[in-house]
């Protein structure tokens, strides 16, 4: 009886130690980091300007005009206190982390779900077997 209880307890503990898949805990930084991009206006624009030096390129000039318009719009929004900005549908960002931290979206925990299922089925079989044998 004691051996049975010990065996079941060890299995439960193994399950407990390894079953943790709270997404916020087990997700790597890369996954969680996708949502943390800065909207600090000067930095982002500086970054954009430092990466793209296409002086003389007519297409890029048009792009710079667009970037200028975007900058002006953001500055207007900042002045007026209206900080709302729009992301593409389905894009992971700081406002939608809760959405993408659900199991259906976090593929890296699917393997853990499968592992837990196998362990639980094994446990169910063991408990049924031992409780039946004990009764006989």
């Amino acid at each position: 009886m004691i051996l049975k209880l010990l065996a079941i307890s060890v299995l439960l503990l193994v399950l407990s130690c390894r079953a943790d898949y709270d997404i916020e805990e087990v997700a790597d930084e890369e996954y969680l980091g996708e949502g943390h991009h800065s909207h600090d206006l000067p930095d982002s624009l500086q970054h954009e300007e430092s990466l793209h030096d296409h002086s003389g390129d007519p297409e890029h000039d048009a792009g710079e005009e667009h970037a200028g318009e975007h900058k002006e719009r953001l500055e207007d929004e900042a002045v007026s206190g209206h900080q709302m900005h729009v992301h593409q549908p389905g894009e992971r960002n700081h406002g939608t982390e809760w959405f993408f931290n659900q199991p259906w979206a976090a593929k890296f925990i699917w393997g853990k779900m499968l592992r837990d299922s196998v362990v639980l089925i094994l446990l169910a079989g063991l408990i049924t077997f031992f409780s039946g044998r004990n009764r006989k």
Binding site: L15, E25, G90, P103, S117, T128
Partner: protein
């Protein structure tokens, strides 16, 4: 297997004759109709709210059905002493549990699927598109309901029916919490709280209403994994319930 199926059908028929199942089903359908009547005030996303609240209503309905259907089965059999002749000859205790569980599971699944069809009708009547994943989402709620049913059977073998409902409700609520949130309930013993929480399922596995309302596709593999996850937890709870039931003195 045949005796179990026969006993399951007997259980199903006796449950359908009870008023509990009809009362809960009517409440679920009235709630769905009520959700459909909430005015949209011209917003374009009214369909999302109907699906979101509708699936939440079905989940709560699954919990109510589990408690309403199963919490009285074993105590009533024991009180009326009908359990003695049943397990004396034709059925073992395991077959008794499986028969009772299967009968209640069939009734519960049928009630939730009727609720899903009701939700579809509400969406169509309000001129909203019915998402293709609505039916699989309801199937996941059925699996969640079966797990709760197994929990109710487990509690019914060693507690009274009035205590069964709050215990199952507590487990239902706790299973919705993340490990971190659960540990914060009693921060003094984080290790123990962590072990307790990790033994319980992550109910959010069965919740896919958010992507459905936003029109996102769910991979078929995820459905299979979630169903397997729910069924394995159900099997685990049933095995624990059987171990307790085998120890019970029925005299």
């Amino acid at each position: 297997m045949k005796p179990v199926m026969t006993f399951a059908l007997m259980t199903m028929r006796s449950l359908v004759r009870r008023r509990t199942i009809w009362g809960i089903s009517i409440v679920i359908l009235l709630a769905l109709i009520g959700i459909g009547q909430v005015p949209g005030y011209g917003t374009t996303n009214q369909g999302r709210f109907i699906i979101d609240f509708g699936l939440f209503g079905l989940e709560v309905g699954a919990f109510l059905l589990a408690v309403g259907l199963a919490s009285n089965i074993y105590p009533r059999d024991r009180e009326r002493r009908t359990i003695m002749p049943i397990i004396a000859v034709p059925l073992s205790r395991g077959e008794y549990l499986m028969g009772r569980f299967l009968g209640a599971a069939i009734v519960q699944a049928a009630a939730i699927l009727v609720g899903c069809i009701g939700l579809m009708i509400v969406l169509i009547m309000k001129n909203h598109a019915v998402p293709p994943d609505l039916f699989p989402a309801s199937l996941l709620l059925v699996v969640e309901g079966w797990f709760l049913l197994a929990v109710v059977f487990f509690f019914s073998f060693w507690t009274s029916p009035p205590l069964n409902a709050p215990l199952t409700l507590f487990l239902f609520i706790v299973s919705q919490m993340s490990v971190l949130d659960f540990v914060k309930l009693v921060p003094g013993v984080p290790g123990l709280m962590r072990v307790i929480r990790l033994l319980l399922p992550h109910m959010d596995v069965f919740h896919i209403k958010d992507p459905i309302t936003h029109g996102m596709d769910i991979p078929g593999l995820y459905f299979l994994l979630a169903v397997l996850y729910g069924l394995s937890y159900m099997a685990f709870m049933l095995s624990v319930a059987l171990a307790v039931f085998r120890k019970r003195d029925l005299k």
